[in-house]
């Protein structure tokens, strides 16, 4: 694997460590952390800072029966975590992604497929996985808010540079990028996306009303 060049902005890692990112964005950042020791180390330090802040907070009085209620809950709980979701069918995914249910692959155009990743949505923001053939462009989509992309396999290029496995790109409403796959294998990437995908071409326009992603 080539080394990771593009990492999330410091303030994005801070928002992840603090827990203020939306769930779909946090899932994409968590997958990046599994691939990038440098980002992971910084996040560990920001989490340690969170721990220190938590420890320094003044306590707020709990409800009178709080401890009793808690002890009753752990006794009833039996100490077992809820059944974990089964692993999904993509064994090569980074560990944080293995237990998200994956939707069926859907055809978006020549060489272009997409499947949903079962991270809880936040408004319109959700996680999609794209597989895009060599030389193809990413499908166009409307940009509402921030979009985060993590490359899992292959690579693409846009005006911000070349993005390979583990690389992370953040685009906001001002960005109008059209990445082109420049690897000789399909580019597999994970995207936290707010906007709607616009299918191009005649067939795309014909099936558009039926595609809800």
């Amino acid at each position: 694997m080539t080394s990771i060049v593009h990492i999330p902005a410091e303030e994005t890692l801070l928002a992840y460590a603090a827990g203020t990112l939306r769930a779909p964005e946090a899932a994409v950042v968590a997958a990046h952390l599994a691939l990038c020791p440098e980002s992971d180390r910084f996040v560990a330090e920001l989490q340690a800072l969170g721990g220190a802040l938590l420890g320094s907070l003044p306590p707020t009085a709990l409800a009178a029966d709080s401890l009793g209620r808690m002890m009753a809950r752990i006794d009833a709980d039996g100490g077992e975590a809820g059944a974990e979701l089964p692993m999904n069918d993509m064994a090569d995914l980074p560990e944080p992604l293995r237990r998200y249910p994956l939707g069926p692959w859907r055809w978006l155009g020549p060489g272009t497929r997409v499947r949903t990743v079962g991270v809880p949505k936040d408004g319109d923001c959700r996680v999609l996985m794209f597989s895009i053939g060599p030389g193809r462009r990413m499908p166009q989509h409307t940009h509402d808010g921030v979009e985060m992309t993590l490359v899992l396999e292959g690579s693409y290029r846009d005006e911000s540079g070349h993005f390979g496995p583990g690389d992370f790109e953040e685009a906001d409403t001002a960005t109008d990028h059209q990445p082109v796959v420049d690897s000789d294998i399909p580019c597999l990437c994970l995207v936290a996306l707010d906007g709607q995908i616009r299918l191009s071409g005649l067939v795309g326009r014909m099936i558009q009303p039926f595609v809800r992603l």
Binding site: L14, A18, T20, A23, E45
Partner: protein, 184 residues
Amino acid sequence: MQQPDSAELGRLIEAVGLNRDRAAFARLFQHFAPRLKTYLMRAGAAPSAAEDFAQEAMLTVWRKASLFDPRRAGASTWVFTIARNLRIDALRREKLDSREPDITELPDDPLTPDAILSGADDTIRVGSALSALSDDQARLIKLSYFHEKAHAEIARELGIPLGTVKSRLRLAVIKLRSLLSETQ
């Protein structure tokens, strides 16, 4: 009762993980639950919702205690990450952050030497890096742990554009990162 220090908190978590030790768990609850409640209230949650959140987080502590590894993170850091993960879900479900935070209620507590010293080594390092930032920078970073929308409040309070607050925060985190890499 005296506040347990970080090593003691770590031993309590291990006792829960190894022996399902209820007394150890009760002590952890008494230490962390009131602080978790404060954490969520400062993020904009109502007291009853913050109390429920503290219970959920502590239930996760009970369930996952056997996964705690004191070589990887201090006790407070481990509990913080549990709360953080729950909060990402809670933000989505209940839109905890839909309430405007009152910036005058947001924390301005210094990270006291006690709090820093009670942490594991990583916490000490991070705490001292934070204290090397300017007051404004440290404040911006600490606010980020409670409320992302606090940025808009700061912008209004200081009469500067939101973009300026964001770029100041960015500079502050970059500085923090370089301070941390110097001490490694």
